[in-house]
Amino acid sequence: MTTETDKSIFFKGVRDAAPFVLVVSPFATLFGVVATEAGLNVLEALTFSFAVIAGAAQFTALQLMVDQAPVILVLASALAVNLRMAMYSAALTPYLGGAPLWHRALAAYFIVDQSYALASIRYEQNRQWSLRQKLIYFWGTVVPVCPFWYLFTVVGAVLGTSIPEWMALDFAVPITFIALIMPMLRTRAHLAAALVSVVGALVFAFLPYNLGLFVAGILAMMTGAEIERRTQPEGGA
């Protein structure tokens, strides 16, 4: 395990995550803009992004705060949106669980859609990687994502309401997520899980507190796992 190898794995992570700068930046900018419109100042918007570091949950919380929802409902809904972080954490545990507690505690904060998605794809492709190499890759993916999340929240908060509506920044979110999902659909089980997720989320959209997404998510996970169990009894993915 030479320094060169560590370095190349780190930069592999940076390179894999680099395209996300193009989507994280507008998304964070949008959050800054929306936060300012909702009445938050620059410091509050930045602290929000720093503390929560999860776009979908931040937007959910902000929307409910604007609607004057009670704090408990704001928290419940935003945390429900963020429940997937617990699932990401669980999914990374078999790979990174052997790291020292301080390292796991630090990495946990940086578990976001992009770092999770890239790490889980690369860890499956590079099963020979040591724990150390897996951690180095993880940190590589964080570098082009999280600092830009903070930075562009500030940019958005400073720009405030001067971003024209025609730029349709709102749709940066769905496009990013779709682009992220498509390469993951590499087996029938993954494809079926994604379809159940979409149909379930729409069918159960009437449920309060974003519970529909979690009903759909659980059904979709069960679908994927069951198809995998039937088609690949030895358990490879």
């Binding site: 704090v71 945390l79 545990t93 796991r104 997404l213 979709a220 995998e228």
Partner: protein
């Protein structure tokens, strides 16, 4: 919105989000997890993200929940290009281009 509410939400949501992220990787650590659980966890991303996106595509908040041809087209183009090339950045650029083209054409 008063600043006490804002800071309460920021602090509690930050702590709650960290707790969610820390729970498995921090508490479970390298204790082995049962195969059935791991089998389910392999599908977390494909189980959650499509469901998160679908309502945003069909009922965008920017149009107050009304279906929007520009956003539907952009999503469809992203799906097709992403599925075809398996290239994340190509899919994003194609989706963004489709969105602006459609917004320009349809208004």
């Amino acid at each position: 919105m008063d600043s006490v509410t804002i800071w309460t939400v920021i602090i509690l949501l930050g702590l709650g989000s960290y707790a969610l992220r820390f729970f498995f990787i921090g508490i479970v650590g390298d204790r082995p997890m049962p195969p059935w659980l791991l089998r389910h966890l392999r599908y977390t991303a494909v189980a959650i993200l499509p469901g998160l996106v679908a309502p945003l595509v069909l009922w965008p908040a920017a149009t107050e929940g009304e279906m929007d041809p520009a956003r539907l087209t952009a999503a469809a183009v992203t799906v097709v290009v992403g599925g075809w090339t398996r290239n994340i950045i190509a899919a994003i650029l194609a989706g963004g281009a489709a969105l602006y083209l459609m917004l320009y054409l349809v208004g």
